[in-house]
Point group: C2
Amino acid sequence: MLFRQLIDAQTSTYTYLLADLSTRDAVLIDPVKGQVSLYLKLLEELELRLSHALDTHVHADHVTALGMLRDLTHCRTYIGHEGSVSCSDESLEEGMLIPFGSYGLRVRYTPGHTDDSHCFVLEGAPSKTVFTGDTLLIRGSGRTDFQNGSSSDLYNSLHNILLELDGDTQVYPGHDYQGMTVSSISEERHHNPRLQWSKEEFIRQMDSLELPNPKFIDIAVPANLQCGKS
Amino acid sequence: MLFRQLIDAQTSTYTYLLADLSTRDAVLIDPVKGQVSLYLKLLEELELRLSHALDTHVHADHVTALGMLRDLTHCRTYIGHEGSVSCSDESLEEGMLIPFGSYGLRVRYTPGHTDDSHCFVLEGAPSKTVFTGDTLLIRGSGRTDFQNGSSSDLYNSLHNILLELDGDTQVYPGHDYQGMTVSSISEERHHNPRLQWSKEEFIRQMDSLELPNPKFIDIAVPANLQCGKS
């Protein structure tokens, strides 16, 4: 299997390229509109065919490449239906499998950061891996104060879904602002401050963060509701 | 084995943490001074002991953490003697092995970007990996116009040392400005524009780049000649 973590430096967003090197089928997770030419060049150089492109949620901090990639490569695009994005080909649903060659991404519905947040668990590969979007960040978590976020739902998603994965599962998040690229479920269970709190404490802390809005929210959310094509 | 790629966003520098999870011995490659507190926290959380810290070369774009890490952790520090850095514990020499637990980094002398540039080939791990500093970048190479750089030497280092490695060797560079995190020898052999040129063409192209000096050169080089402690 080919695996590449790609970085959009402007928004500290991580995009993931995965591919089956036998069938050449590839998937992109959370692609960024400004990086489309880089993705297309890389797919061409690596002789891969983009089968699927998926967003973990409707992003508030960058514009998605889903619409452009669908137009340019004819890949299928996926996003959670809760976000009311009508332009993706298919809705992400709890438990569905998005296959690429002999591998697949198992979709888990993990609301909380937004009500359309999903995580993807890699299947068929020797190492255990989960792509957590903004649900679980390294030593942190997504915020819950816009886009139908819910601290209570996020607590449940973190504790009842992600922390139920094996401890040696590698955690690849949607962002990192400190320069970390990967963690593990076990590491986050022990060292993520937000995972040490009771549900009541988690809700209290998350609801009192008073963070400023993301820089690009007024551009990104409306654009992303059109798959980045507006 | 534990492997972590860490990013200093200000200078787009990649730092690498490697460790033997049985013995808990760890190595840092190209650590950045401004990130020392992050390294120390991570080492503590992962219950690792920093045995060695090494620089691929005297950097012109960021200040090394070697001196601080030696003071704080008593690790051994290494840098090429050609750079006239007198404060490191040991000089990197072609062919030497820097061990950590049952793994090791084999030192290759690869002058060209600077006259003290070295690459490190991972030994003892199932996957083949080389840390190329600024000698080989993803779809590029280090410049050769300061710090005793030499386009002719860089051509020889790239073609006679790095491209002699197996094609499936993973390439982890010292920087990337496009958001790529890893490549392979085979990929670079085919798709790195600078590796397609004859030696004469390479020298001609490299010697006509006329790049501006790195932002931090006037701070970084004198500081790094003191292991980042000036």
